[in-house]
């Protein structure tokens, strides 16, 4: 498991360049360009279960969902950040990508430290120190547990159709 570490104000163009937004929509198309203008090593080396540790305002800018879809698709276990931009936060809920707003953990982290994510317990262990993160609001948890917004909406539609 590797921790990828980035700074503040990482915008959507760095996560997935705008020039590809109307030609790449599927995970296979997105993967090679993920984080292309931020870290040229990422797309080739990322593995399922890796984590991202990021600064403030991660995902600011465009409403494009390829960053959230792509990070979830390559198996990022969670993005741990000081804060997240609003539309990216929403897109991540809708894709089922786990975002943890935990500035203390980000501040404590130094490259090379072991990190363990205990999602069910609401805990993140960074270099031996335990950080707790708050649970999602129940309305949002329901979307997350359904596997994203689309599944949640379809379940509702089917319930309506069969009632």
């Amino acid at each position: 498991m590797r921790v990828w570490n980035y700074g503040d104000d990482i915008n959507t163009d760095m996560l997935f360049p705008g020039k590809y937004t109307y030609t790449c929509g599927t995970l296979e198309e997105i993967k090679p360009h993920l984080l292309e203008d931020l870290d040229t090593e990422f797309a080739g080396q990322v593995q399922a279960g890796d984590l991202l540790f990021v600064g403030r305002n991660f995902g600011c800018g465009s409403s494009r969902e390829q960053p959230a879809l792509g990070l979830r698709g390559v198996g990022i276990a969670a993005v741990v950040g000081c804060s997240f931009a609003r539309i990216f936060y929403r897109a991540s809920i809708n894709q089922g990508l786990v975002l943890l707003e935990c500035p203390d953990a980000v501040e404590h982290f130094e490259p090379g430290m072991p990190v363990e994510l205990r999602l069910e317990q609401g805990e993140l262990v960074v270099g031996g120190k335990v950080f707790a993160f708050p649970p999602l609001p129940p309305e949002i948890m329901a979307i997350s547990q359904a596997g994203g917004l689309l599944n949640y909406a379809l379940a509702k539609l089917e319930a309506r159709a069969s009632s």
Partner: protein, 420 residues
């Protein structure tokens, strides 16, 4: 206790007496905007669309603008799929290639009304706050779910109140104001929050000024950026054929509670630039005068309206674009282009050496028509200067007002608008 604009409108939508920041409410938006990304959105829900259809053919507003006309077979095929979807499901509000940038078209068509909730799968959907709408961006997956169900969740945001006072000095405009505010608050200074603009100077801001300001709310992270509906709004809505009985304005109570209040004196604003590569990296234009540029872009959903073209035409009358610069002009809509032609602005700009692009998003997102080369620098009236935004990671984008861009195009270097 009183409520803010966002609290009031979300309480109404949820059928509650009051709501508080942090609360989550279910709402049914009046419209859902999508653009070229409609192809990807409907691609997610093909079988469900066949089974259930769209929830309401009046909900979706679709404008083809992001890569318009199509740049290649793939984008052309996307447009083709969207046209077939529109026909099959009887989508009422469809605007094909050439009508303009989605946000301008939505406003001109009277689809963003005061007091309405509008969501769009484009981050600059917040623009409609210029007309007193609660308008915010969502992602493609959410647009897909909305197309089927018509409902979504919104978290009630805390609000920042920005009070505007005084008058702009000559050569200074709404673009300089909003860039200055973003510089002060930072690119996440309003993250998750609503921003209300009020104060004695608001009545002197045109709808186009307000549009420029609300459009850039997202550049400080805002969920919405909104103005009070006043005579200026009512007059504008009248000119596009919207009658007063068709909308129900909402505004904050005097005793509403704010997370932050800031006062901006317009007299103190100077021409500014957003320097590479973040929108909050603000510098005084005067401190960068004389620095080289290779391309100038006048247009986009931030500054592609009639007053922007008029500002540039007045500056460029009888002048020539500097030979070392490409000057691209991108009107925000067909209607803006026609008005600018009838006023003679387009003739002046083309005569001065500008290249006219078709109404749409053009080179703003780097997909086509004005992509930059490595080490080039573009001075642009757009809203984003992120690295790689205009198609090249090794290029630079600097944001400025239409006046600064027009003066700079003439001189071939960054030039501060003359006073008076």
């Amino acid at each position: 206790m009183g409520m803010t604009f966002a609290e009031k409108i979300l309480a109404q939508a949820a059928g509650k007496d009051s709501v508080v920041p942090g609360e989550i409410v279910m709402v049914r938006p009046a419209h859902l905007l999508t653009h070229d990304n409609t192809a990807a959105i409907i691609g997610k829900i093909g079988p469900e669309l066949e089974k259930y259809g769209v929830v309401d053919p009046d909900l979706n507003v679709i404008v083809l603008d992001h890569v318009a006309p199509a740049a290649n077979e793939k984008t052309a095929t996307g447009h083709q799929k969207i046209r077939a979807f529109v026909k099959q499901h009887g989508v009422k509000n469809f605007f094909d290639v050439g009508e303009g940038i989605c946000h301008q078209v939505v406003m001109e068509q009277g689809l963003a009304l005061p007091g309405a909730i509008i969501v769009g799968s484009d981050s600059h959907t917040c623009s409609y706050g210029a007309l007193g709408a609660f308008a915010t961006g969502v992602d493609r997956t959410e647009a897909a779910a909305l197309t089927l169900t018509g409902e979504t969740w919104l978290r009630v945001p805390p609000t920042i109140r920005v009070v505007l006072e005084g008058n702009f000095r000559p050569g200074v405009s709404a673009k300089d104001l909003i860039l200055t505010i973003i510089g002060e608050l930072g690119s996440d200074g309003a993250n998750y929050m609503a921003v209300e603009f009020d104060g004695p100077a608001v009545e002197r801001l045109t709808i186009e000024d307000r549009f420029t300001i609300a459009n850039m709310g997202i550049e400080m992270g805002a969920k919405i950026a909104v103005f009070r509906v006043d005579e200026v709004t009512e007059t504008y809505l009248g000119t596009i054929g919207v009658r007063k009985y068709q909308y129900d304005p909402v505004w904050a109570d005097d005793d509403a509670e704010y997370a932050q209040r800031i006062v901006m004196r317009l007299d103190g604003i100077e021409p500014v630039l957003a320097l590479p590569h973040t929108v909050d990296n603000i510098g005084m234009a005067s401190e960068h005068a004389g620095e080289p540029i290779h391309q100038c872009l006048l247009g986009t959903c931030t500054n592609g309206r009639l007053s922007d073209l008029r500002t540039a035409a007045k500056i460029m009358r009888g002048k020539k674009v500097h030979p070392s610069v490409r000057f691209l002009v991108l009107p925000a809509s067909r209607s803006v282009l026609q008005a600018a032609m009838s006023k003679g602005y387009i003739q002046i700009l083309i005569g001065a050496g500008a290249t006219l692009l078709p109404p749409g998003c053009g080179p703003c997102l780097g997909a086509h028509m004005g992509v930059l080369a490595p080490s080039e620098r573009c001075l642009s009236t757009a809203n984003r200067n992120f690295q790689g935004r205009m198609g090249c990671k090794a290029a630079e984008i600097i944001l400025a007002s239409p006046a600064t861009v027009a003066h700079s195009a003439i001189h071939g270097v960054i030039t501060v608008p003359e006073e008076g």
